[in-house]
């Protein structure tokens, strides 16, 4: 563990830990003899960093959250998302990033971008949907084996080691957010060998259900979910309602003020599912609807 060649680094487990204060060369109290050999690492914010081998300390391997922690959720957090429809141009960068990071099968998406048009005379708009992470989740209600569950931080997850593949949750979800691994997922070798955790949803498993998980593995490292950081237009705001703050990476705003000032709403409020994803209506749009058709 002293020297880690780049390829062997398990990104999801290793990310960030090395660059915490403790391993910062300047803070190092003890004298370190440099070897001159450089090792590439990926930092917290996604940069590749070069560090002299000597600075690599044997960091206790940071495993994905244990099954028990995965089920409990992160204490003191209440995650929430705000999707600003006035900024969406159907670029699908969110979708691409999400599909790539979660190895979503061909043709399936966890983030779906709907072309919406409510009625004849209303204007069409683009509506990205993630899992709504409902506070009254109909999918969790119907699961016979506790394979999908609600956590104290609000996130609804799936344990693919337990799922029996009955697909009742898919029928129960009014937002059609869930997808099924009909085929064996195609995975790079490292990902296939990775230890499964409901927080990473990786490696995905055949015969079980998958869906947007709010990237709890990223969130545990105080990083934004992949869709949020992938969107160039800042459509997705993510944050902790306990901090009353959401951010899209470049703008950080008070959640309560954003939702109040821009008339935030939730999808299918009448069903009583109490989603955790809020929408800002498509007013004062940055792009024309037609711009989204060009892709």
């Amino acid at each position: 563990m002293n020297a880690i060649p780049h390829a062997d680094i398990d990104r999801r487990k290793f990310l960030g830990k090395l660059l915490d204060k403790g391993s910062n060369p300047f803070d190092g109290v003890e004298e370190v003899q440099e070897t001159g050999e450089k090792v590439k690492l990926l930092s917290v914010d996604g940069f590749v960093v070069e560090i002299d081998k000597a600075y690599l300390k044997p960091v206790p391997e940071l495993p994905a959250a244990s099954p028990i922690d995965s089920r409990k959720g992160i204490e003191g957090k209440q995650f929430v998302m705000v999707i600003d429809l006035s900024r969406c141009k159907n670029l699908k960068k969110c979708q691409t990033a999400c599909n790539k990071m979660h190895f979503v099968s061909e043709g399936q998406n966890w983030v779906k971008i709907y072309s919406m048009k409510e009625s004849e005379h209303t204007a069409p708009y683009w509506q990205p949907t993630t899992c709504m992470h409902c506070d009254e989740p109909p999918c969790v209600k119907v699961c016979p084996v506790d394979a999908t569950f609600k956590r104290q931080d609000g996130v609804v997850l799936i344990d693919n080691d337990r799922c029996i593949g009955c697909r009742f949750c898919m029928a129960a979800c009014p937002y059609s957010t869930r997808v099924f691994n009909w085929d064996a997922p195609i995975l790079p070798k490292e990902s296939a060998q990775q230890a499964y955790s409901p927080e990473t949803s990786c490696p995905p498993k055949i015969g079980t259900v998958g869906k947007c998980d709010f990237c709890p593995d990223m969130v545990r490292k105080n990083e934004l979910p992949h869709c949020v950081s992938a969107c160039p237009n800042g459509v997705f705001f993510f944050g902790d309602i306990n901090e009353d703050t959401v951010t899209n990476g470049s703008e950080t705003v008070r959640f309560s003020e954003l939702v109040r000032d821009k008339s935030g709403y939730r999808l299918m409020e009448d069903l009583g599912t109490k989603p955790r994803v809020y929408y800002l209506p498509p007013v004062d749009r940055l792009f024309k609807y037609e711009d989204g058709l060009k892709q």
Partner: protein
């Protein structure tokens, strides 16, 4: 109860027909064909085990298809056991007594294959035990697991208790081959027919008849709740339990009609299964068809009147859209037509009854398909951003093979039962229960 004078009216050669008999040539072919269909189904299932549910036509929207509709069909058919045996018994209807065992074996084999097919639908059948290890009572699936297990136990008992005296009668006749005799001895040596044993048997059957009714209603109501507990258009209905139960009685009665015709023909049982039985089953079918039509009108007319946006798309796909070619035949051929035909005495004769019975059963199978899949293809959010193949559902050959295999399997169980055991309750018939002469 008939007087003892009537008993002597049953000629011995007619009674002999009630004994289990080896298959004839037609019987052999019937078994071979059924077994072949089963084998093809098993081959298809092996493929599904190897490649996962991707061998099916199911995709994210139509995530339930003919496996689930077939499951609902089996559960529906199995309800007939409680109808013919229990409900008619406790309402003191005696004419149906000769049909009870037919109804009960249909019930048992259907409920067995309902369980089989639901495992087939699972993405991870090897995790079946999770239902017991991690089962949570909030899920209607667990309720279904519980009531189906319970109903299976009750149905087997309801098949077994009335069989006891007959086992003794057949054993006594001494016509059994060695291996079959072993089976009979295992199952029924202890029946010696003392008055006390008869009293206990009657008590058990009475208790079963009462208990099985709420459980039977529960299996199909809970099965309907698998759908009705969701928000989906076409499923979001408080009417669903009653709608399913009434449909189940109809298809179950239809199945019994088909079976009694086939058994009557195969074993020349005209003496016992008379035209009067057909006549009465015909009247019952009319009533059940009307009942089911009533619930259908409720299920469709009320949402049609309101035409809520989400319901509207679903309904128009049924009435005029891609499912209309199944929807209208199901309504008219398997619900309206039986009422019209069976209202005429000539329509209640055995052959027309048999044809109508088949129409009812086949229609009921497609009806279950119409309940399950069209709804899933009309979600709240539009089906954009998915491959074209996700927007429609066509079952693959594997799905058809497995479904047909399960249906053939259920028929095979019924057939083997008829081969091994007396299909009519001999003891009851000798005692005159439900036995009616043509002239009566």
């Amino acid at each position: 109860m008939k007087s003892s004078a009537d008993l002597q009216a049953i000629p011995q050669h007619e009674l002999d027909k009630l004994m289990p008999q080896p298959f004839g040539k037609r019987g052999m072919w019937w078994v071979i064909v059924l077994s072949a269909v089963c084998v093809v189904g098993i081959v298809a299932y092996v493929r599904q085990l190897m490649y996962g549910l991707s061998v099916t036509g199911l995709r994210d929207y139509a995530s339930w298809g003919i496996y689930i509709s077939n499951f609902v069909f089996f559960v529906a058919v199995s309800l007939v056991g409680s109808l013919i045996t229990a409900i008619l018994r406790i309402s003191n209807v005696t004419w149906s007594a000769p049909l009870t065992r037919i109804a009960e074996i249909i019930a048992v084999s259907s409920i067995v294959f309902a369980s089989v097919i639901i495992v087939v639908d699972m993405g991870r059948p090897e995790r079946f035990m999770n239902l017991f290890i991690y089962g949570r009572l909030q899920s209607p699936i667990l309720w279904d697991v519980i009531v189906i297990t319970t109903y299976m136990a009750l149905s087997v008992l309801l098949l077994y208790f009335p069989l006891l005296p007959d086992l003794a009668i057949v054993l006594k006749s001494g016509k059994l081959k060695r291996r079959l005799r072993k089976l009979y001895e295992f199952l029924g040596t202890f029946w010696i027919g003392t008055p006390e044993q008869h009293r206990i048997k009657e008590k058990a059957i009475n208790l079963l008849s009462i208990i099985i009714i709420p459980v039977a209603l529960a299996i199909h109501t809970v099965t309907s709740w698998l759908f009705a507990t969701t928000y989906r258009p076409g499923w979001d209905s408080t009417n669903f339990g009653a709608y399913f139960v009434s449909g189940a009685f109809l298809v179950g009665a239809g199945a019994v009609v088909v079976a009694m015709y086939a058994i009557r023909r195969a074993y020349s049982l005209e003496f016992f299964i008379t035209e009067r039985h057909f006549d009465r089953m015909g009247k019952l079918l009319v009533m059940l068809s009307l009942l089911y039509l009533y619930f259908n009108i409720n299920e469709y007319l009320v949402p049609v009147f309101k035409m809520k946006k989400s319901e509207a798309e679903h309904l128009s796909s049924l009435f005029t859209g891609e499912f209309s070619l199944i929807f209208w035949p199901v309504i008219f051929i398997s619900m309206v037509l039986p009422v019209i035909v069976l209202l005429f005495p000539a329509g209640r004769r055995p052959l027309p009854m048999f044809v109508i019975g088949i129409l009812v059963v086949v229609g009921a199978w497609f009806k279950r398909f119409l309940i399950v899949t069209p709804t899933l293809l009309h979600p709240f959010l539009p089906m954009t951003d998915v491959p074209e193949s996700y927007k429609h559902y066509f079952p693959t050959w594997e799905e058809w093979a497995i479904t047909m295999g399960s249906l053939a399997g259920a028929l095979l169980i019924v057939t083997m039962f008829i081969r091994l055991f007396p299909i009519l309750p001999i003891d009851d018939i000798i005692k005159g229960e439900g036995y009616e002469k043509e002239s009566a």
